[in-house]
Amino acid sequence: MLNLSNSVLNSVSNIYMTTTEQNIDQKLIPILEEVSDPEIPVLSIMDMGVVRTAVIENNIVKVEITPTYSGCPAMDVIGDDIKKALKDAGYNSEIELILAPAWTTDWITPRGRKALEDYGIAAPLSAEADKDVLLNEKRLVKCTNCGSQNTRLVSQFGSTACKAQFQCDDCQEPFDYFKCLK
């Protein structure tokens, strides 16, 4: 379905280069970085990895975004916010929602992971470790408050579909864990 050329970004900076399917015009990056995920305001949609394409064609910016989860209610808002940010920068745009390739938590940038942790959401572990913690078999998720790994699962589903709820048994802090999606 998608066979986009290698990103122009490749030669400039590689912080968003998670897969070769991403194609973003570097002029647009500062604008798109200002758009944040409405559910997690500290995280830009660029660090989230949901913007797959942003190219200028005949003075119109064509943007392709991909949902984190199928039912993610933030997608409509993200689309509107992108449109508005581009408009403010003087661009008209067309936003399209694409499904393939499917989003994975691997596309969250290191900066995004840090922003999540600073905000109080533990960043996703590897798929294997994720399974262990969600079955409450191992204690591997670091408490975002005190850093202890003495944490346990409270609920496999947290405040949104993409998160699970954990609690620290040392400092007692309840916090969200961003589930691994691969």
């Binding site: 949902p67 039912g71 993610c72 393939a100 499917a102 609920s155 496999q156 589903f157």
Partner: protein, 251 residues
């Protein structure tokens, strides 16, 4: 319509998620605890999200003015193609989790095959959905184990739920006319081939949950042809209420 089989095929898949999503959504504010309430509604949200992808595609195939909302909200009972299993009511939490579990095991196997579809939109949707559904399956099988291997009371309730819902499992593996054509074109999943592994996986989990595998050989069917149990009508009157009362309303 150019491709009526594809259209019907998509509806056959999507209606399961729509109706199950509605059932799980009914628990919003009514779950047995805050965590389970949130989990059930999150599962509901995943399913509705999946349904949107399917119906957006179906709306494109239909090629007329039918929108995804029209397809979801404005059909008559007989036009819904979901299996009987997913329309069964939330009798108690054991029923809710047993229904979810019996569907999730099927859903995972189905999506795993649909990923190989020659229809690229369907395979992309399957690819996306399977990640979400694997979390659903983990959640529901965990509850079947906890209640089955729990107290005397929880075990009795879970066994009762499994026994009651068992009669609706066989229909998952019935082929419709649209199925047969889609399978022959390489775009559809041959559900008859999923049956053996399904009963094996379900049986293994029930064993871990210290529950009995029902022996009944009597199975209900009809949902795929639009012949539903009495429960669907009530569900639809809830689901469709706003659109029927205030046609074309938006918010």
């Amino acid at each position: 319509m150019k491709n009526e089989n594809l259209y019907n095929y998509i509806l056959g898949i999507a209606d399961n998620s729509l109706i199950l999503g509605q059932r799980m959504g009914e628990l919003c504010g009514h779950g047995p605890s805050l965590e389970t309430d949130i989990a059930c509604t999150n599962i509901s949200l995943d399913l509705f999200g999946q349904v949107r992808s399917y119906f957006q595609y179906a709306s494109k195939i239909a090629g007329d003015n039918r929108s995804e909302d029209d397809i979801a909200m404005l059909r008559k009972e007989r036009e819904y193609k979901n299996v009987l299993l997913v329309e069964q009511p939330n009798t108690d939490f054991a029923y809710t989790m047993a229904r979810q579990f019996l569907f999730d095991v099927y859903h995972l196997a189905f999506l795993s095959e649909l990923q190989k579809s020659t229809d690229l939109t369907l395979s992309a949707i399957a690819n996306k959905c399977i990640k979400e559904v694997s979390y659903h399956e983990r959640f529901s099988s965990d509850w079947v184990k906890r209640l089955g291997d729990g107290t005397e009371e929880s075990k009795a309730k879970m066994q009762d739920a499994i026994n009651y819902l068992w009669t609706y499992t066989d229909e998952l593996f019935h082929q419709t006319e649209a199925d047969k054509i889609m399978v022959s074109e390489g775009a559809g999943v041959d559900v008859t081939k999923l049956k053996e592994a399904y009963y094996k996986n379900v049986g293994d989990l029930l064993e871990v949950a210290t529950l009995e595998i029902p022996e009944s050989k009597y199975f209900q069917k009809g949902g795929k042809e639009g012949i539903h149990t009495e429960h669907l009508g009530y569900l639809l009157s809830d689901l469709q209420y706003m659109q029927r009362t205030y046609p074309n309303m938006e918010w």
